[in-house]
């Protein structure tokens, strides 16, 4: 009798604490920042999202949510009209006076890092886990993520001992015209290096190159990210608009690789390991 009574107390206690926890956690979320919204979805929080910004394009289902506009130009009343409990975003979110107004209205504003490094991913995931009430899952997701990237690096080290490192450039454009080349310090540069390539462009940031300068780089592999076309169409448009590229080693050998341009903004997202895998396979096709 005593035992069953204590069991009941225990059960009631458990139910009660989980109820309290569920109540304290924010239920209505607004997310600003592409990679961040992807992580929220990956951690099972998509049902709680009531609005996202224009950079949140993945997964496709997010596009159906109300759009709060560009992450740097949020409108206080617009965000408040969605009656959110929490607004999550990166340090790119703004402008600051609007964030102050949103905070003033009693909405929790949680800031995350958009830096392209693993530490940022780890702390972001832990932070999201706390807010979503599933820390364990967040830890697990980060562990797998880390593992995938570490495995890839280990494999690349072996491969690079036997194969020459390919020289690669990354071009970002609209329907092939006037592509920008990803230089040092860009997310594109980081991606290329992590996938085991050498970035031939040594400029800072994204810059337009003249046709001649493009031809002179003569990459082994060409990675292209097009904002308005995709697949074969994007590749044909790029070669048509930039005939000088046709003479490059990459085009001669048919080593042109497509990259989703949304991967290049807003920090490291959950799709990164598979992308790096795909890129590294394209960089070392004979090593598989």
């Amino acid at each position: 009798m005593r035992r069953s009574a204590s069991l009941i107390t225990l059960c009631m206690g458990l139910v009660f604490t989980s109820l309290v926890q569920a109540e304290a956690l924010p239920q209505r979320w607004v997310s600003a920042g592409g990679a961040l919204s992807e992580w929220v979805t990956a951690l099972g929080g998509e049902a709680r999202l009531v609005g996202v910004d224009t950079t949140s394009q993945h997964p496709e289902s997010l596009k159906a949510l109300p759009s709060i506009g560009y992450q740097r130009q949020l409108s206080a009343e617009g965000v408040l009209s969605l009656r959110p409990d929490v607004l999550v975003g990166t340090e790119e979110m703004g402008p600051p006076p609007v964030l102050a107004q949103i905070r003033g209205a009693g909405v929790q504003v949680e800031l995350f890092s958009s830096k392209a490094d693993l530490q940022a991913v780890e702390s972001n995931l832990k932070h999201l886990g706390r807010l979503l009430g599933n820390q364990a899952q967040a830890e697990q997701v980060y562990g797998q993520y880390r593992q995938q990237l570490d495995d890839l690096q280990a494999k690349l080290k072996q491969v690079q001992a036997r194969h020459p490192v390919p020289g690669v450039i990354l071009l970002v454009g609209h329907a092939g015209a006037k592509p920008m080349i990803a230089g040092k310090g860009t997310a594109g540069d980081w991606l290329l290096q992590q996938a085991g390539a050498r970035n031939l462009a040594d400029n800072d940031g994204y810059k337009n190159f003249s046709v001649e300068a493009l031809a002179a780089l003569n990459p082994d592999v060409l990675v292209f990210a097009d904002r308005s076309l995709s697949g074969e169409q994007a590749m044909q448009a790029l070669l048509k608009e930039n005939p000088a590229l046709k003479a490059s080693k990459a085009a001669q050998a048919g080593r042109l690789v497509e990259l989703d341009p949304t991967l290049l903004v807003g920090g490291l997202g959950p799709r990164l390991p598979s992308t790096l895998q795909r890129l590294s396979q394209a960089f070392y096709p004979t090593a598989q």
Binding site: G69, L80, S81, P95, P96, A105, G205
Partner: protein, 345 residues
């Protein structure tokens, strides 16, 4: 000339329009507040002790978001329209706008320096960045205008024609400098710069409002005192001089008012085109060229037009927001064309 409206009728109509704009600007927004809540929250803001459920939220939205935004819209619209009148009077040309003396391009250059330069320095502290942007834009506008004025002066005389050309040259120079910054900027700063160039009343706060209000009140009190002189200037410079107007002093005051007024407006809300050019023109079609009517009527019309434009800017895509510069031109330009063409037949 028979289609002109009597000044008193015009003032009453514009004052009612302005009141309507203020009311709508306070009552409408992406958050839908019941009419009674808005009224009661308004009374509570005035200090009356009113209790009620959910009134805190209404009071916050009204007091901290909509009211500062409405005041900013009123002031920016009024000061841009007044500066437009001053410039059209100075250049004796209805196509003149405040941009002619370089204040807009100078402010844009200042903003570009603040935005792009700030990101080079590794980012300005968040609390400080908006102020730096405002101060740089204001100083940029003032600096370029002062230079244009200086270039127009020779032997104690200011040549309006030289000023006009100097304004065009310096605007081109400033634009190419902005272009250079645009080229050097990374993606994120580029977007900030683009949005700044389209203007916005978003995120208005009382702290950032008061410098603009002080300048605007000064301009709004000063310019109407010079209405008679502006009327005389319409006849021509030497005619005005013969009528006993100190033309050089008048020119200096007009340039000064424009530089301060537009500089402060742009610093607070970014570049908002069209108001300074078209509002005085519009009002002139209704009131005739007398500056005693034109100045106060433009003030009211500019303030109302900007508030209506802002309503569209914040409601059209809610919960997102449209830059207001897009809206002012989008509704203003066709209306302007209609008035022009109607006047011709």
């Amino acid at each position: 000339m028979n289609q002109l409206i009597k000044p008193r009728t015009l003032f009453v109509a514009l004052a009612l329009l302005c009141l309507l704009a203020v009311w709508l600007s306070l009552a409408l927004g992406p958050v839908s507040l019941p009419l009674m809540d808005t009224l009661r929250a308004g009374l509570r803001l005035l200090g009356l002790p009113i209790a009620g459920d959910g009134l805190d939220q209404a009071e916050l939205i009204l007091g901290q978001i909509r009211l500062p935004r409405t005041l900013l819209g009123l002031t920016v619209g009024a000061v841009l329209a007044l500066s437009g009148v001053a410039m059209q009077g100075l250049f004796r040309n209805p196509l003149a706008d405040p941009g002619l003396v370089g204040v807009s391009s100078g402010a844009a250059l200042g903003a570009a320096v603040a935005i792009v330069g700030g990101s080079w320095l590794g980012g300005i502290p968040e609390a400080f960045a908006p102020y730096l942007l405002s101060v740089c834009a204001f100083l940029g506008g003032l600096g370029v205008t002062a230079l244009v004025y200086r270039l127009g002066r020779r032997d104690g005389q200011t040549s309006v024609a030289t000023m006009l050309l100097a304004g065009i040259a310096l605007t081109a120079l400033a634009s190419s400098a902005v272009g250079l910054f645009t080229y050097l900027a990374d993606d994120a700063t580029l977007r900030t710069l683009t949005f700044w160039n389209l203007g916005s009343l978003n995120g208005a706060s009382y702290q950032r409002l008061w410098p603009l209000v002080m300048v605007a009140v000064g301009v709004a009190l000063w310019l109407p005192r010079r209405a008679q002189a502006l009327n005389a200037l319409l006849l021509g410079e030497s005619e005005a001089r013969h009528l006993g107007i100190e033309v050089e002093a008048l020119k200096r005051e007009l340039v000064c008012c424009t530089a301060l007024g537009v500089g402060a407006a742009v610093a607070a809300a970014g570049l908002i085109g069209f108001i300074g050019l078209v509002v005085p023109h519009l009002v002139r079609l209704l009131s005739g060229p007398d500056h005693r009517v034109l100045l106060p009527a433009s003030l009211l019309a500019g303030a109302s037009l900007l508030l209506f434009a802002d309503l569209i800017a914040r409601l059209a895509l809610a919960p997102a927001e449209l830059p207001i510069g897009i809206v002012t031109a989008f509704i203003g330009a066709p209306f302007f064309l209609y008035l022009l063409l109607r006047g011709r037949t």
